[in-house]
């Protein structure tokens, strides 16, 4: 793409104008929801129906708008981090510091879950330590920007921050433990015989191209997950108005210590993307389940799954696969217990 400075200015102006319009609409969502519920529909203040309608009319556009903005920004950030660059960056790093870096890079390096195996081989054969590679593989699906926005929008910044911290910690600890156990011999032999190929050297995208990548990400991700978001908010609206609280408290409440391990054991074989699991989280939390238990369930569903185990078995011998699933499961359980204890 050959662009002169005039085009540059046009793109910057476009993005700036978009942000201003976004902010103006976002700010007016709350008064519009109030006006819609009480003036237009004439619902009585304080009724179940009014509470549910106001929640629905306010939350749906709010969360979708937040999602669009965050996916756009993450899409642009990701254009700076290719898997290739991340690999070069992590190669030869020491276990301890490398695990922290890998967990952070896992958030911003784009790759689809079906690339887990080629990525694993690419990292290991290029000299990225095994533990560091695992930190990356854990944090990348577990710390997900869509889940982060949804948790922020529906439950506030504290829950979102807890999720972010817990995901990163689990990823770092997993990598550190696997590194310490010296399990390199439990990687299938053919992996180390594979040559670390140079990937395509693609041209660095320029500014306008990065904006396009951000817009592509919005189209792709928001286009796929908006329906889950609306289902989640719908469930939330129903709970908000109607379902008695503490419905789940007796089986998933704070007082029931075994609910955390059971939630993790149930969640590990299941697979869902982050957006699909949020409605369930919403429903469970709203009915009195404890936050730690629900977060543990959510993280287990997102981070580990039976299909993933089958794919990874091609490169990991059973013992390493078992250690990987075991350590991540234990880490998630610890997160669950911790948050049930302090929240």
């Amino acid at each position: 793409m050959n662009l002169n400075s005039l085009d540059w200015r046009k793109y910057l102006l476009g993005v700036g104008a978009g942000l201003v319009i976004w902010w103006l609409i976002y700010r007016s969502l709350a008064p519009v929801a109030v006006w819609f519920t009480y003036s237009l529909l004439g619902l009585k203040s304080g009724s179940h129906l009014a509470a549910a309608v106001e929640f629905l009319v306010f939350e749906s556009p709010k969360v979708l708008m937040l999602l669009t903005l965050v996916v756009f920004v993450v899409g642009i950030i990701r254009s700076f981090f290719t898997p290739d660059r991340t690999r070069r960056f992590l190669a030869g790093k020491r276990e301890s510091g490398g695990a922290v870096l890998a967990a952070l890079l896992g958030i911003v390096t784009p790759f689809c879950s079906c690339s887990a195996v080629p990525l694993f081989i690419g990292f290991v054969t290029a000299g990225v330590p095994l533990g560091v590679t695992f930190s990356f593989l854990v944090s990348s699906p577990m710390v997900n920007e869509v889940a982060l926005v949804l948790l922020f929008g529906l439950f506030g910044w504290k829950v979102a921050a807890i999720y972010l911290g817990a995901g990163l910690t689990t990823a770092i600890v997993t990598g550190w433990v696997i590194g310490r156990l010296r399990l390199e011999k439990y990687v299938e032999d053919w992996v180390y015989e594979t040559k670390a190929g140079d990937t395509v050297s693609e041209a660095e995208p320029d500014g306008p191209a990065r904006i396009h990548l951000g817009l592509d990400a919005v189209q792709d991700i928001v286009g796929r997950v908006w329906i889950y978001v609306l289902i989640g908010i719908g469930v939330g609206a129903g709970i908000h108005g109607y379902v008695p609280e503490n419905f789940m408290a007796s089986i998933m409440g704070k007082g029931v210590w075994w609910s955390v391990p059971v939630a993790v054991l149930l969640g590990v074989p299941m697979y869902s993307n982050a957006a699909g699991i949020i409605p369930v989280v919403q429903a469970l939390l709203g009915k009195g389940a404890a936050l730690g238990t629900v977060l543990a369930f959510m993280m287990a569903v997102i981070a580990l799954s039976l299909p993933e185990a089958i794919i990874l078995r091609k490169v990991l011998k059973p013992r390493l696969l078992a250690v990987f699933f075991g350590v991540v499961s234990l880490g998630i359980m610890a997160v669950g217990f911790l948050f049930n204890a302090i929240m």
Partner: protein
């Protein structure tokens, strides 16, 4: 005769890329074969780290992206 290979272990993105490649070949009207490479060992021989990847005559042209038919057409043009 160009040889186009689609590397990927069968996720939905790989299928989209395959369809786009076939559409590109058709609209250009060139002689080319399009085939899938689905086993991990074979995929790794190309040294790619992300799938789906597009290979033309043994050369990796793109990895980790679903190119549109037009973009593939441009790659095949030269």
């Amino acid at each position: 005769m160009k040889k186009i290979q689609i590397l990927g272990i069968g996720c939905s993105k790989c299928k989209t890329l395959m369809a786009n490649a076939e559409a590109a070949v058709k609209s250009l009207g060139i002689a080319a074969t399009v085939e899938k490479v689905e086993t991990i060992q074979d995929i790794m021989k190309f040294g790619v780290m992300t799938t789906p990847a597009l290979v033309v005559d043994g050369q990796v042209k793109s990895a980790g992206k679903v190119l549109s038919a037009e973009e593939i057409g441009r790659l095949l043009g030269n």
